[in-house]
């Protein structure tokens, strides 16, 4: 249903719609991500629930007008709980023909298109693959079209500030933002504040952008608009009272690591190597030096993992981060951390693969790598974040497990939740229970092989402690003394102990809960990671239609919660949607001999709610 249709349907409450999807699309240099982020902030402040989906190309500045250079930012906001970026687009902002042709397919019939017709030149039309100008040939008749000479409007608006033609035109995105803000009755205040702060050293640029923003807004108020296009009201969402902010998954993950370090009373050493889409974690933490964190941009992925391990040996918490290809390179070092039983956190912000694959697109295809992607028997805990906000708690949980069990822990995020943003009910850090690390300090009966009898964690003794001088390393060690041992029985024993330690983590994590629905029934849709939103909505809609379906969302991928098998056995059917070719479903099948069914998607795009709904219906109808 389009905005316009929604309005028509809800005529009694003029122009009120419950939810809207807006997509901003333009050249990768058009500032669409910035525009989207500003609109998101204004929307959050307005009081709608929302979810976003930034979708940008790997090329930083692709040739102007090229279809492969189109950068898009989608936001879904509404008055009810919003957990995905939305399936179909109600309002499409297209800054050029390439943005129009690549995004039109997602627009609902009757949807609103806002285009900058200045950019619909012959050259740009040809480059986008149009034979005729779609603004003139009637091919957009199924939609509402606002075709505006945005360039001309902007040049007029910013004229007083004496900018060059080139710089003046860079304000086009703010003009467009102003218009869309008018359309949805958003406040421009936070954007204006942000522009003034960003260009504090260049006030004329700030003023020009603000003028463009205001001019776009004024255009909406005064210009003659297509029938049915006027200000829409999207009522505020009924959300839990409290303090909110927007967060991306990356921000929340970074803050969670800092929080986890404080709870563990440990300095953090974050060592990383730039890779899309994981680099922003390095950027965020590099800017937080007031915390007990050292960031280190290493010469390569291997060095990053190794520096983190060295830091853990020295008594900090080593953290390294990458995306799939980089994690492959870190593999040998992660096995060293397993062998030496040192705490270490490895964050994998997954992207489309294999190899360079789709660096800016999302996928969940590194689960097998996380679980099995190392030489030898190197079981380690793997936990997955399901939403942007969840990244905060997952990071703290990773610190807790890594330090309690002296083990590397892999955290799985992905390009979607790393870059998307959502409103976050700001937690109170005082509510988190500290878990301070106890380093060994008593030379009496000390060996580096000493273990906690409950958790089997190896003792953590840091250099600088008198009397505890000892050696660790990659060669197999005696269970009793920690000295090198090639003894066959000892190797069996050490392998068993390392495995038992990780299996035992299951006793120190929460039992698996059901996110939505009953604890037994016909169908459990089992997800993990960033598919949370789509599965939640899909299950919710099906339940609203009376279907017996529940949503189970797994955080602890390995070891799995102790009640997980029993919980799954309470359902006639299990469906596992994943943005891979079926990795978690295979774990469930092989681990529990449960006939779980798969739903797979590897297009680089998150699941649509509709896709989940259709799969649920198909499975229930056929059973």
């Amino acid at each position: 249903m389009s905005v316009v249709e929604k309005v028509a349907k809800e005529e009694t409450a003029a122009n009120v719609v419950s939810d809207v999807v807006v997509r901003f699309a333009g050249d990768s240099g058009d500032g669409m991500q910035l525009t989207g982020n500003n609109f998101t902030e204004a929307t959050a402040i307005y009081g709608n629930d929302l979810a976003t989906f930034p979708d940008f190309p790997a090329e930083i500045r692709a040739p102007a007008g090229a279809t492969f250079g189109v950068s898009a930012f989608q936001i879904y906001f509404g008055s009810e709980d919003v957990t995905t970026a939305g399936d179909d687009v109600d309002v499409l902002v297209a800054m050029n023909p390439a943005a129009l042709i690549t995004n039109l397919g997602d627009l609902v019939n009757g949807g609103l298109i806002i285009v900058d017709n200045d950019s619909f030149t012959d050259k740009n039309l040809v480059r986008a693959g149009y034979k005729e100008n779609p603004l003139e040939d009637g091919s957009l008749d199924a939609y509402r079209l606002m075709s505006i000479e945005i360039g001309k409007q902007v040049l007029g608006a910013v004229k007083p500030f004496g900018l060059s033609h080139k710089f003046a035109l860079r304000c086009k995105n703010m003009w467009t933002l102003g218009l869309v803000m008018w359309l949805f009755d958003r406040s421009r205040e936070s954007t204006i504040e942000g522009l003034k702060a960003k260009f504090s050293h260049k006030p004329e640029i700030a003023d020009a952008n603000v003028a463009a923003l205001n001019a776009g807004h004024a255009y909406g108020e005064t210009a003659e608009l297509p029938t049915g296009v006027e200000v829409y009201k999207v009522p505020k969402a009924d959300v839990m009272p409290g303090l909110y902010r927007n967060t991306t998954g990356t921000e929340a993950l970074a803050y969670g690591l800092l929080a986890g370090g404080q709870l563990a009373s440990l300095p953090i050493m974050f060592a990383s190597y730039p890779i899309t889409p994981a680099s922003s974690l390095l950027h965020t933490l590099s800017g937080q030096k007031q915390f007990d964190v050292i960031t280190f941009q290493a010469e390569d992925e291997i060095a990053a993992a190794c520096a983190a391990i060295g830091a853990s040996f020295a008594g900090s918490l080593g953290v390294t981060s990458s995306s799939g290809p980089g994690i492959s390179l870190k593999g040998e070092a992660i096995s060293l951390a397993c062998a030496t039983e040192l705490p270490l956190i490895i964050v994998n912000t997954q992207r489309g693969g294999p190899s360079t694959g789709l660096p800016t697109k999302t996928e969940q295809s590194d689960l097998n790598q996380a679980l099995f992607g190392r030489h030898a028997d190197t079981s380690l805990p793997v936990i997955a974040a399901s939403t942007c906000a969840d990244c905060f708690d997952v990071a703290i949980e990773a610190v807790r497990i890594a330090t309690k069990f002296t083990t590397p822990v892999i955290v799985l995020s992905d390009g979607y939740i790393a870059n998307a943003s959502e409103p976050w009910y700001v937690p109170d850090f005082n509510d988190y229970e500290p878990f301070p690390v106890q380093f060994a300090d008593d030379p009496e009966n000390f060996t580096p092989a000493n273990r906690d009898s409950e958790t089997l964690a190896r003792v953590w003794a840091k250099p600088g402690t008198p009397g505890l001088e000892h050696r660790i390393g990659g060669i197999e060690k005696s269970f009793e003394t920690g000295d090198i041992s090639y003894d066959p029985d000892n190797h069996q024993k050490m392998t068993d102990v390392r495995k038992a330690k990780i299996d035992g983590v299951a006793n120190y994590i929460p039992e698996q809960a059901v996110s939505l629905g009953n604890e037994t029934g016909k169908l459990a849709v089992v997800g993990w990671g960033s598919t949370y939103g789509a599965i939640h909505q899909g299950v919710k809609r099906c339940r609203a239609e009376g279907m017996d379906v529940s949503h189970i969302h797994v955080r602890y991928m390995w070891p799995m919660p102790s009640n997980f098998e029993e919980l799954l056995r309470g359902f006639d059917h299990v469906l596992v949607p994943e943005m891979n070719m079926g990795q978690f479903v295979e774990v469930i099948r092989s681990r529990f001999l449960i006939d779980a069914q798969r739903l797979n998607k590897v297009s680089g795009q998150p699941f649509k709610i509709r896709e989940i709904e259709e799969a649920i219906k198909a499975l229930l109808e056929s059973s």
Partner: protein, 338 residues
């Protein structure tokens, strides 16, 4: 450690049985370092030895200090993490020609250019020992080995040249069995703030025996060694009668004899260990055409990376004030839902 208590070599010998081949040069280096440790003004618990993989990398197991035997080639990266996490630690890296210059070449390059305060000892025996004798990146052309039965073809790399090229600010060379020379070189390396690189010629009696005899042989030592001392002329020979002279026309180093062809002592180059160009030229001198320099080729300290990291952090902290998670979470735009 009790400051009054005088430690000895024994305090630095671990209870592990040393497992190098009989006659290996590593024994001599181990003993020299175990002897040196008690003389350094460092608490024993702050000493850390980090190694990669290979014969030399077994070194930490034999030192009664903190030690970490890591993975092939990665010791500089692990050591970087150790030093950055706790700059009070006195961190030594032990590596070999295969570990440090082949599989770990990239890490060695970057740890040197970053100038992290570590002592990096590269035991160069010009062969892979632990994997049973394959040629290494420092093996001379024509080295026959299991992987080069007809002789190696590729050109070898000169460790000191590599280190200087990488931007190392302390580069020295010594010999495994020459404790009298090695000890002061290691002292200098330890004293140096920043990354110090020491190449140690080390004999492998099993796979590459006698490869350094030309310089180790005491009878030839006067002719085959150019002993470097800062501020002293670069002379050698039984009576110090020979010297190295720079031909400014072609930037060549020539061997000349003092008193012959009008050559006087003043014509001989004087070693300036702060001169990078000279260090590079010296590092390239190779026997038998030239005597090979041993001692400190280059020493030109600058602030170390680890010092700067903490200085920068302290500066930020001074500006931003104390860290508070709740403040961080509430930073930027927030809004309240009633």
């Amino acid at each position: 450690m009790n400051a009054e208590q005088k430690l000895t070599l024994k305090d630095f010998s671990s209870d592990q049985e040393v497992r190098w081949c009989p006659g290996c040069g590593d024994y001599a280096i181990l003993k020299t370092i175990q002897k040196l440790m008690p003389t350094l003004d460092v608490p024993k618990e702050n000493m850390v030895f980090i190694s990669g993989i290979g014969c030399s990398s077994r070194f930490p197991y034999y030192m009664e200090t903190y030690g970490f035997h890591t993975i092939h080639g990665r010791a500089p990266a692990i050591a970087s993490g150790v030093k950055l996490a706790n700059p009070d630690l006195d961190v030594w890296v032990v590596t070999g020609d295969g570990d440090g210059l082949s599989i770990g070449g990239n890490h060695l390059l970057h740890v040197l250019r970053r100038n992290i305060d570590l002592q990096i000892l590269l035991f160069n025996n010009e062969i892979y020992g632990l994997t049973k004798g394959q040629y290494s990146p420092t093996s001379r052309v024509g080295t026959t080995s299991p992987s080069t039965p007809n002789g190696s073809i590729d050109l070898p790399l000169r460790p000191c040249t590599f280190a200087i090229g990488a931007g190392a600010r302390f580069v020295a060379r010594s010999i495994d069995t020459e404790a009298k020379h090695l000890t002061p070189v290691l002292e200098r390396a330890h004293e140096h703030q920043g990354a110090s690189f020491v190449e140690i010629y080390q004999n492998c009696p099993v796979y590459n025996d006698g490869i350094f005899d030309y310089i180790k042989d005491k009878k030839n030592a006067a002719e085959s060694r150019l002993i470097l001392e800062h501020g002293s002329p670069l002379t050698f020979g039984a009576d110090n009668e020979k010297g190295i002279r720079l031909d400014p026309k072609n930037m060549h180093l020539d061997i000349v004899t003092i008193g012959e062809d009008g050559v006087e002592l003043e014509d001989i180059l004087v070693h300036d260990e702060t001169n990078k160009v000279m260090a590079h030229m010296l590092a390239e001198l190779k026997g038998p055409d030239y005597p090979e320099p041993i001692g400190v080729l280059y020493c030109n300290p600058a602030e170390s990376y680890d010092t700067d990291v903490y200085a920068q952090r302290d500066q930020v902290r001074e500006n931003l004030g104390p860290a508070d998670v709740n403040t961080l979470l509430r930073g930027g735009h927030t809004w309240t839902v009633e």
